[in-house]
């Protein structure tokens, strides 16, 4: 009599049950976005893995083989395609991948990294639920960020393909410039509501015609 769920049924049930940290703002993100000028969307459920390892050690080399390299200095992002690794500290990294890469959804990212680290010093922690991802893009995305970010975001200094951990609206985030006009922001889940509303507020003026 026992009903056994097939793996795909389990996956679908998991998918249906979860709620992303800024899900309730999805409509506001759509209506608050100004296409072509600045748009804000949430990219929910990305797989994220916190890795601590000495990148020059053997374990570091094995982990790098899974992730496609480990960044050497602040700002660097390694990896190509869907799996990328952000630099958090000299021995601390964050691997970001699409949700399908997560072990519970058919992928093997966390398991592969754990295997690669083995029994050596370091850690591999599944942090997928720790942060959510906002994508802020458009010609005025930088102007929105400059209202609160103390870093120099001018393209001369902050180049596409750079990720730094810093503060936006006084909360700690990872800020990743994925292309010239596009930024990915990783706030902790509990800050997603606040930061989402803050960014919407900051975007509001660009919906109106510019005052000469």
């Amino acid at each position: 009599m026992a009903e056994t769920a097939t793996p795909s049924e389990t996956v679908n049930r998991v998918r249906g049950a979860r709620r992303s940290p800024a899900e309730h703002l999805a409509e506001a993100f759509t209506s608050g976005s100004v296409p072509g000028t600045v748009t804000l969307t949430e990219i929910p459920y990305q797989a994220m893995v916190g890795v601590r390892v000495d990148r020059t050690s053997d374990a570091g080399a094995r982990v790098a083989a899974v992730t496609g390299g480990l960044p050497a200095a602040c700002g660097e992002v390694t990896g190509s395609g869907s799996v990328n690794t952000l630099w958090l500290g000299p021995t601390e990294f964050m691997v970001v991948a699409p949700e399908e890469a997560h072990d519970s959804l058919g992928g093997s990212l966390v398991g592969d990294l754990t295997t690669a680290l083995g029994n050596d010093a370091g850690q591999v922690v599944d942090l997928s639920a720790n942060r959510t991802t906002f994508e802020l893009s458009g010609s005025h995305a930088r102007a929105v960020l400059e209202k609160t970010c103390s870093l120099d975001l001018h393209p001369r200094v902050f180049k596409a393909g750079t990720a730094v951990s810093t503060e936006l609206a006084h909360i700690p985030v990872m800020l990743w410039k994925t292309s010239e006009d596009s930024y990915r922001i990783f706030p902790r889940a509990s800050f997603a509501d606040f930061l989402g509303r803050w960014l919407l507020d900051a975007m509001r003026e660009y919906a109106s015609p510019e005052v000469p």
Binding site: C74, G89, P90, E92, S150, V164, S165, T166, P172
Partner: protein
């Protein structure tokens, strides 16, 4: 607002950092041998320097690494930033401009100021350290 140059991340706002108090306080080599007074002095007694002060900071919203800083508590000028475990640099030799513009404003640029009786000031306590620096 101080602009602090993190050794890993470059110049960042002071709000990204947290202060860690006086630097170079060695953990007593044999804590069990200390009297209650000596232990209390190790734990709680700190310099209150007017002038150049060696202190610890952590880049808490960045790389989360600790480092030492030589900062002027009067002018807030940052003289030097150096790694944990390194000894306090002699700023009088390396940068003459670190000297005060107004003579008499403060005097100590190498010594630790009002270190009291020997053995009472935390910086001058017992010799080697195991807790500091990595």
């Amino acid at each position: 607002m101080l602009l602090i140059s993190c050794p890993n991340c470059g110049p960042r706002d002071e709000t990204e950092f947290h202060y860690g108090g006086q630097a170079h306080i060695a953990y007593p080599e044999n804590p069990n041998d200390l009297s209650d007074r000596e232990w209390a002095e190790y734990l709680f007694y700190r310099e209150n320097t007017k002038g150049t002060f060696a202190e610890r900071w952590v880049h808490s919203t960045g790389c989360r690494q600790w480092f030492n800083m030589l900062r002027d508590t009067v002018s807030y000028e940052i003289h030097s930033i150096y790694a944990m475990g390194q000894s306090r640099p002699d700023i009088t030799a390396s940068s003459p401009k670190a000297e005060p513009e107004k003579p008499g404003e403060f005097t100590q640029s190498g010594d630790y100021g009002q270190a009291g009786d020997p053995g009472l000031a935390p910086g001058t306590a017992t010799a080697p350290t195991s807790s500091e620096g990595v």
